[in-house]
């Protein structure tokens, strides 16, 4: 029997497999999906990976797969797991190598006719380094880097004057995780990330100029500062090499300590340590520091966007709508218990009245930002705080449905570039092969994914944004 067949529908868009579904599972596995998405999810090894996660000690509730779930390494991408702070573990693989990979949405105060997308993208490409090149980055001294690791986005605004003071008021956690300790980050990690603040990175990272094409919830859209036809900018990047090295360092250390803690795992990439252990505490402090680096990175990029628009579209007034992490572990309260929620390719989606939602949005719910695949729509939702279903989490994107190899076999980058241009979407991507890997056909249908999130009660749709120009890292 395939793993997907062990799941039964328990309510609208919710499927569950009990602990009896596979030997070693300590808690049930839950997937948020409709029949079409569940079938797609069942085609790769993501369900097996979700069940592997369900074998970890100290889990609370169920492990949850989002509708954009796909195969990752260790944890599936689109997985959520909450661990007890007393007898649970923390697993770097449950956050991923790109710690605090996330998205930040900006409004510009512009309409589409107010800017010429091509020169704006060209200028952004000049100001935001990608790949192996030199220059344009923010070079930090040892002391400055440590201050950014502990101070996050507010430190960048305060120390380097890169941004407006109110930018960070509308960032998850204020753009700074208090648990960060710079000394927990290795010298190798600092060396790797030292000159990467203000860079986009490769892979699926991007900066997109968009237009608000549809508004589904006028009150929420107004509160978020979104209006029909308005131009927005979406930034998708993370903690760059610094975060990658933090994960590499701590997975290695935790693999070495597994026997000492009596931990037996179905996959070494699930390497973990008790949350309340020297290894667990050290990783959490380093992860928070890397997350702060990522918040700071998106803040620097926000400043770059502001600089470029000031020259190319002087009417622009750039404001932060919100900034969410989708690869992170957070200490949160669910069901009256404080737990460590691992979100790997999943977005926090807190609801109305939650004190962690910025005050201007507290009557609406937290903005949930869901980027689509290249050339397709992105969505803004408002969180419902569905704690009992998903630890108040939602999806993080469309979710890959096809390997990069298969995508390149089906799509030619050059043709995709022309097709997007034909639809009025300007693309800046150095490699046609990379472009083909991120083709829309390689992803699930974002409209369906977002509809399922709404049907399952995790978040509700506020607005649809369509791309005008894409700068790929």
């Amino acid at each position: 029997m395939a793993w997907v067949d062990r799941f039964t529908k328990v309510s609208e868009a919710i499927w569950e497999a009990s602990v009896a579904a596979r030997a070693g599972m300590r808690v049930p596995a839950r997937i948020v999906a409709d029949e079409v998405l569940l079938k797609q999810i069942g085609r790769d090894r993501s369900i097996e990976q979700l069940m592997n996660v369900a074998t970890l000690p100290g889990l609370v509730g169920a492990v949850v797969g989002m509708p954009d779930m796909h195969e990752g390494y260790g944890f599936p991408v689109g997985g959520v797991a909450a661990m007890s702070l007393v007898d649970g573990v923390i697993s770097p693989g449950g956050i991923g190598f790109d710690i605090n990979c996330g998205v930040r949405l900006l409004t510009t105060g512009l309409e589409q006719d107010d800017l010429d997308v091509e020169p704006v993208l060209h200028e952004l490409m000049r100001r935001i380094p990608a790949g192996y090149g030199h220059g344009g980055r923010l070079e930090l001294s040892d002391d400055e880097l440590d201050r950014v690791l502990e101070g996050g986005a507010p430190e960048v605004v305060r120390r380097f004057r890169l941004g407006e003071p109110d930018d960070v008021e509308r960032v998850e956690g204020g753009g700074r995780l208090a648990g960060a300790r710079a000394v927990a980050v290795s010298e190798r990690a600092k060396q790797r990330g030292r000159d990467q603040l203000g860079t986009l990175g490769g892979g699926n990272h991007f900066l997109e100029i968009q237009r608000v094409q549809a508004v589904f919830d006028a009150e929420a859209a107004r509160a978020f500062g979104l209006r029909l036809g308005g131009v927005t900018v979406l930034i998708h990047t993370g903690s760059r090499g610094l975060g990658h090295q933090v994960c590499t360092d701590h997975v290695r250390a935790m693999v070495a300590s597994l026997a000492r803690y009596g931990l037996t795992l179905p996959d070494r990439q699930l390497a973990c340590a008790p949350f309340a252990s020297p290894e667990g505490e050290s990783y959490f402090a380093a992860m928070c520091a890397a997350a702060n680096f990522a918040f700071a990175n998106r803040q620097v990029l926000t400043h770059r966007v502001r600089e470029v628009l000031a020259r190319t579209a002087p009417k622009a007034v750039v404001r932060v709508v919100y900034d969410v992490a989708h690869n992170i572990a957070k200490i949160e309260e669910h069901g009256g218990q404080r737990v460590c929620v691992h979100r790997k390719g999943a977005t926090r989606a807190f609801g109305r009245g939650d004190p962690d939602v910025p005050e201007p949005y507290r009557a609406i719910g937290q903005p949930v930002l869901i980027p689509g695949s290249m050339g397709t729509a992105s969505f803004v939702l408002a969180g419902n705080g569905a704690s009992a279903v998903s630890f108040a989490s939602a999806c993080h994107g469309a979710g890959r449905a096809m390997s990069r190899t298969a995508a390149k076999a089906q799509v030619r980058g050059g043709e995709l570039r022309k097709e997007l241009a034909g639809r009025g979407i300007v693309v800046r991507c150095p490699s046609n092969a990379e472009l083909a890997e991120e083709a829309p056909v390689a992803y699930k249908d974002v409209e369906r994914v977002v509809d399922v999130v709404q049907r399952a009660g995790l978040a509700r749709k506020v607005a649809r944004l369509v791309p005008l120009g894409v700068l790929k890292g």
């Binding site: 790769d44 993501s46 796909h70 195969e71 990752g72 390494y73 260790g74 991408v77 693989g93 991923g96 190598f97 790109d98 790949g131 192996y132 090149g133 030199h134 190798r188 060396q191 790797r192 990175g201 490769g202 892979g203 090499g241 990658h244 090295q245 994960c247 590499t248 997975v251 290695r252 693999v255 070495a256 996959d267 070494r268 990439q269 390497a271 890959r400 449905a401 096809m402 390997s403 990069r404 190899t405 298969a406 390149k408 076999a409 150095p430 490699s431 092969a433 990379e434 890997e437 890292g473």
Partner: protein
């Protein structure tokens, strides 16, 4: 330039005599699965490095642009050593802004590796690789050779 998705077979005349190795990239929805085959453990580790470089840049065959660097690693087992080796190359590559296709493994066993590498700053970067992972990691004998599987986070 070879298509990096095609199986790349190579025969190399080195001080150990005729040696062969090859790598290919398999199916994985989210990341990149690299399979490497060789007739010896040193050749396997060298080919894994070339596979990584092949993924990272289109122009890896040109002359190195950086001086020699000596790498010595110690790990808990052979599989861990392969992950540590690839992650060492990724770290050096990001710090030195280069990729390492010019590699010579002088000695490798189940726990230790000595190698000399030379980097090249790529003019045509391809895929940004974040890390070599432990997921599905294996090194197994196969048809008189050795085959390794490693998933790379991209």
């Amino acid at each position: 330039m070879a298509d990096h998705d095609a199986t790349l077979a190579r025969r190399l005349l080195d001080p150990r005599g005729m040696s062969w190795s090859r790598h290919r990239f398999g199916e994985h929805t989210g990341e990149v699965e690299m399979k490497v085959e060789a007739d010896s453990l040193p050749a396997l580790f060298e080919e894994a490095a070339r596979g990584l470089a092949d993924l990272q840049a289109e122009d890896t065959s040109g002359p190195p642009t950086r001086p020699e660097e000596r790498i010595t690693l110690r790990s808990s087992d052979r599989e861990a050593l392969l992950v540590d080796w690839l992650n060492e190359l990724l770290w050096r590559g990001e710090v030195n802004k280069c990729v390492y296709a010019d590699v010579k493994v002088d000695r490798v066993d189940d726990h230790e590796l000595d190698a000399v590498v030379r980097g090249r700053e790529p003019r045509a970067p391809r895929t940004a690789v974040k890390a070599a992972t432990w997921h599905g990691l294996r090194i197994l004998p196969r048809d008189g050779a050795i085959e390794a599987t490693v998933v790379l986070d991209v």
